[in-house]
Symmetry: C2
Subunit: 488 residues, 2 copies
């Protein structure tokens, strides 16, 4: 892969550079300006050998763009805060919004490559990391992000020379010489990483980094191409292309639920007390070992989510949990991938986060109401599974509850809400409209249950016609999941 970059020395004369720059700069600025209205974003990943001029290039790209539309993120060693989140969290925080350019100095490639070079991880785990990166980049490009992956390459002797030049200027990082001693291994591991992740949607551009002018012009033109997609590819985020759905409905699961399940008041109060007391101890025990839990509550309107959540939180010290109510996204959220706002709420180790509605809105309300196109929500099933798998891989317990009520019970509750003063605000015209779309929602729910139920993050279906039964079922499931996770 590096042979082409090494075959000859790629240089640009000072004259040619000075002549090319004005045109390139004004083309970049004008493309960047137009790009503000784009439904996608551009991510520039700057990677390569130590001493190859990555930092300098980052400065140059910044100089060439309109500062109001670009943000640069440099990634240092993982901070304690970053370590206490799933690995990709730090990168999600750095994602540019639509119409903006993000320049990343250091990226999701850095750690897998270094760990593999230093033999801190096995080949299989390295390859699993790369596979995860492919999935991640696919998700970004699917949603309209263009990824420019630059690799600044230096042959060995040039790297040695460069490091020697930088040393007296105090510009060397603490590990640069240490890494140089492993030049060949670095080259081979990097090549593997690039070969595995060189995909049509996110190809690598390897740049001969020996000559400053050459590498700057190459990078500049690659960025320009990303800001100006060829005709016919515009609006990638909302492609109208017909996508064939690759889904055959599974067996209906909601039907199997026994909605007649009931619990008497006495038994309810006994069980509630016992389960809440157990949950309280488990929450403290989880805190002790910094175990994290994410709870998802979804269900029909008036299904009893709010009051069920309160039965959970009553058992916990308020410092141990956070309830996140999900409504329509705000303007900042709308400018990002739909999962971005949920990544923001992924908790730090040692606490509970309870989502009152969640990322499943993508395949429920957004699907049924047409806020997302079919290709968009169809690929969300995989993206959501991947998201939850990342939580699981970090050791987070993910418990998801669907509160199921019959249409008749829902109607009864709507009417009750209108009668009781302090419940009246809970019922809106939208609720009545949603009711009319029951069949469409039912289809969406069944597909969600079918496609998003991995063993590590299963849905628990709750028969919720009887609130007492529902609350106890939820608490019991949660207690069991926690006992399992904490091995208690």
């Amino acid at each position: 892969m590096f042979a082409a970059a090494e075959r000859r020395l790629h240089t640009v004369t000072a004259e040619a550079y000075d002549e090319a720059i004005p045109d390139l700069r004004s083309a970049l600025l004008s493309a960047h300006f137009k790009f503000r209205e784009s439904p996608g974003s551009v991510l520039v990943v700057v990677s390569g050998a130590d001493g190859a001029g990555k930092g300098e290039l980052v400065h140059r790209l910044n100089e060439w763009l309109d500062p109001r539309g670009v943000e640069t993120h440099a990634f240092w060693d993982f901070t304690d805060e970053e370590r206490e989140h799933p690995a990709m969290w730090r990168y999600w925080r750095a994602m540019p919004g639509r119409g903006r350019v993000g320049i990343l100095f250091g990226s999701w490639y850095t750690r897998p490559i270094i760990c593999r070079v230093l033999k801190q991880q096995k080949r299989r785990s390295f390859e699993a990391d790369l596979e995860r990166i492919v999935t991640f980049e696919r998700m970004l490009t699917d949603s309209g992000t263009r990824i420019v992956k630059l690799w600044l390459h230096l042959p060995k002797e040039h790297q040695r020379k460069r490091l020697k030049e930088l040393e007296p200027l105090g510009r060397l990082g603490p590990d640069d010489w240490k890494h140089f001693k492993r030049y060949e291994r670095f080259r081979d591991v990097s090549r593997q990483a690039m070969e595995h992740t060189h995909r049509p949607n996110a190809p690598w551009l390897i740049i001969d980094a020996r000559d400053r002018r050459y590498r700057e012009l190459s990078a500049g033109h690659a960025l320009l191409a990303a800001l100006r997609p060829p005709r016919g590819q515009r609006g990638g985020a909302r492609s109208k292309a017909t996508v064939k759905r690759d889904y055959a409905p599974g067996p209906a699961r909601l039907e199997t639920l026994d909605l007649s399940a009931r619990l008497r008041k006495g038994a309810y109060e006994r069980e509630l007390k016992a389960l809440q007391s157990r949950l309280s101890s488990l929450a403290w025990a989880a805190r002790e070992v910094r175990h994290t839990t994410v709870l998802v509550f979804e269900g029909w309107d008036a299904g009893g989510k709010g009051s069920a959540i309160r039965r959970v939180t009553q058992a916990m010290d308020p410092r141990l949990y956070r309830v996140v109510g999900i409504a329509a996204p705000n303007d900042e959220e709308r400018r990002h991938h739909y999962l971005w706002r949920f990544w923001r709420h992924v908790p730090r180790d040692g606490s509970f986060t309870i989502f009152d509605r969640s990322w499943y809105g993508r395949v429920l309300v957004e699907r049924v109401e047409g806020f997302a196109t079919m290709p968009e929500w169809d690929r969300s099933f995989g993206e959501i599974n991947d998201f939850e798998a990342q939580l699981g891989a970090h050791g987070i317990t993910v418990a998801k509850f669907w509160l199921h009520v019959s249409p008749e019970e829902q109607l009864r509750r709507f009417k009750e809400r209108q009668r009781i003063a302090w419940k009246r605000h809970k019922i809106t015209d939208e609720d009545w409209r949603n009711r009319e779309k029951y069949p469409a929602y039912l289809e969406a729910v069944e597909e969600m249950l079918d496609r998003c139920s991995p063993p590590s993050a299963p849905w628990t279906l709750i028969a919720a016609n009887d609130k007492r039964h529902a609350r106890i079922a939820i608490l019991r499931t949660l207690v069991e999941r926690l006992e399992q996770a904490l091995k208690l």
Copy 2:
């Protein structure tokens, strides 16, 4: 202060409670619903004795409000991340936006009181903390936030009883008995804190916490009163009352600047190289000791801020700094106090944050263009000084630069920008309009320089008619400030 709460046992019978609740709940909900359109927010601070039912009350208030308009924040011990920011940062993160209710379990009172009880801080430093709290709360209420400060009080014997009841349920925190042993000292220190911070704009409500029903109804009514301000006090955030300005202009400072200062190319390049090399070492040295620097760049349009900032960043590893460009606030930012969005960018220890425009927009563009009312921008001077003092108290170096160019030089640059292709985007109709308002801006700048120049965060006026001179002056000042701060 607690005598009234202890004088008699305040109780509410179950019947009276059951009768009062429906009215209270529907009044709360309807007031909360209307409050969504309010230009202010409500903060409920829940404090008081261990075992007095704070957590339970937090749950109850949540139950009574519309979950979509309320957020609860519980404060644990400071995390590493919080420790690496100025102390108030954690609370700024938790501030509710306009039209919302924030419930705080634990607050800025907790740490000063505990530290004083355990004699970890002297009386004088405790009083300084309280004074800072008064300033902070004044700032919040000035901007339309209503603060409900609840103190749940328990006489000693009742606290003992409560802790004994809670112990077998696993609901005691690790320090509860330890604190109980110091009951009298806790009571006295808390009383001092409350007496000092009991102000008309943010009074304390002490609630006899022995009876659950009594404390819940008391808190509920206090919250209701905050959600429903008495007639005539509506729209506190944008009060039309005439405020008398208490400011006599100081001597004009910009006039004293020698705008003819120039630097030849040869001397410039020599100095630039030397200063950048020094700055590079200093940036690494600062990282080493986790010293933080905040740089503020303000100045006339076309004053050369962008290119001056690049001369600073060129000298630094991209992982050591972050440039924050400040434009108009987004909708989330607009729903908060104007300082909120700057608090978001206050860096963690060990890095540089460079603000390209800043919080001074409040007393510059917002003042001149009328986006802020006179009382609003007039009180901002003090709020800004307080903000920077908090950065300073945390050990952060604050360096502020005003880039001054003559109107003639500005005109020359505007015209040049229109000529050169890649500079054209930099000049907008707004720039020309701002130019017409030169006298109003000049007055605003002079007042800002006069009122916001404490010794710990001085303005450095930069004669910027000559860009080379300006860049060297900035770099030299920065290097000097860093050498001083790092004692190098």
